[in-house]
């Protein structure tokens, strides 16, 4: 078996894949409270409190100011860069009634329409997007 054996080897291998977030232990540490906040939105009562006053609700969590700003701006790229896990931050989109596709589109700077058209025509081609060091 040729598995990467240490956290460092894993990280190096994952970082070689362009435009991709892998939710490692390091990211989990950084995003701990952000992801806990996201999970809290599973309850209707919490969703209502968040919607009524986002800032006040966010201040109940031990998140960084930058994480809180990213939530309020719905900047999903910034959320993932600061330890958010995609399946957790999608709960913020669910509060807004925003489809997953529109969030996915935002990562690549595409409009929801452009992204949907790309998917209908076969999706994003992996050629050139597999490895930074290997350029394939």
């Amino acid at each position: 078996m040729e598995y990467a054996v240490s956290m460092d080897q894993h990280r190096t291998a994952f970082e070689d894949i362009p435009g991709t977030y892998v939710f490692t232990g390091e990211r989990a540490i950084e995003g701990r409270h952000l992801n806990r906040f996201c999970m809290s939105l599973m309850s209707a009562g919490n969703r209502a409190r968040f919607k009524a006053n986002e800032r006040a609700y966010l201040d109940e969590w031990q998140m960084s100011e930058s994480q809180k700003q990213a939530v309020m701006k719905r900047d999903f790229k910034a959320l993932l860069e600061q330890g958010g896990n995609i399946f957790f931050v999608l709960k913020i989109a669910a509060v807004d009634g925003r489809p997953t596709q529109s969030v996915a589109a935002s990562f690549a700077g595409q409009s929801a329409e452009e992204y949907a058209a790309m998917m209908r025509s076969g999706g994003r081609n992996p050629v050139g997007l597999r490895s930074i060091s290997g350029r394939f």
């Binding site: 990467a4 991709t20 999970m39 995609i86 596709q101 996915a104 992204y115 076969g122």
Partner: protein
């Protein structure tokens, strides 16, 4: 004696459940997918399995990041559909098979696979969408289901090989269960897709096709592939495909592919479905 008679691989895209529940299954975006599952639907209806061991992953529904079990086996009598943020899917409550589930838990732990035992668990689209695709929209599910939740979200996720070997251990456990039961193992998730980052929307038809070929022809290649290769080729969420290997491991060395369907896209994802039977 209980026996594993078939393995099914299936994607579990949430938007497919939403399309079906919302009455949009004849819309041009979705009709080809439901048509593609028709063969499997009819075949499974004729096979009348008693129990499905359904390998899937939870998507921040039953499990937060407070507790992250690598493999969690549903030993409860029933599993309610989870509220994933917009109300639970209106599908029947999933009926478990506690006796077989506890037998599997006991046997595989003695076999040195240390599972987490779930006596209370809600199940999300990862489990209910494959049921809907293959069993349709009945008032009650016609089969009992033992959920096996695999962590593919928080690294370190299990290796592909560990998933495969767990399938082998499950097969040994099922064989030693004294009741006469027709058991199927379903592996779900995938195929290629990625929801985040600049590569969001990645689809790799060529690699997916190779994965489906190798699943029957040479699963050793798939079980020894690294995490990074799965992610690089099939996208960050394409990692879910390691769960198909638990199903494959449960079928034994010689199998036959009875049916294959592949379609792009369902929302962000390449959809795959295979029906495999053991040959001895």
């Amino acid at each position: 004696m209980a026996r594993i008679t078939a393995g099914i691989g299936s994607s579990h895209v949430p938007a497919i459940g939403a399309a079906l529940d919302g009455g949009r299954s004849t819309h041009p975006d979705w009709a080809p997918i439901f048509a593609g599952y028709e063969w499997t639907r009819e075949w499974v209806a004729a096979q009348k399995p008693d129990v499905i061991i359904l390998v899937y992953n939870d998507h921040a529904s039953a499990f937060s990041l407070d507790v992250v079990p690598t493999f969690a086996l549903g030993c409860a009598d029933s599993f309610a559909p989870a509220d994933e943020g917009w109300g639970p899917r209106r599908v029947p409550v999933v009926q478990g098979h506690s006796k077989l589930a506890w037998h599997i838990a006991t046997q595989v732990v003695l076999d040195e696979f240390d599972l987490t035992i779930m006596n209370e668990m809600n199940v999300d689209h990862g489990l209910t969408v494959p049921l809907s695709l293959v069993l349709g929209q009945p008032a009650e599910w016609p089969v009992k289901v033992i959920p096996l939740a695999v962590n593919v979200i928080q690294y370190p996720t299990p290796t592909a090989n560990r998933c495969f070997r767990l399938g082998e251990a499950i097969a040994r456990a099922v064989k030693s269960f004294p009741e006469d039961l027709n058991v199927q193992v379903w592996g779900t998730g995938g195929m290629s897709h990625q929801l985040s980052g600049e590569r969001a929307g990645l689809i790799n038809r060529e690699w997916d096709t190779r994965f489906l070929d190798l699943l029957t022809a040479d699963p050793d290649i798939l079980r020894t592939m690294s995490h990074e290769e799965y992610i690089r080729e099939a996208g960050s969420e394409g990692m879910e495909l390691i769960m198909w290997l638990t199903m494959r491991g449960a079928l034994g060395p010689h199998i036959r592919e009875l049916y294959r369907f592949y379609h792009v896209p369902a929302s962000n994802t390449a959809v795959g479905n295979v029906v495999l039977t053991p040959e001895d």
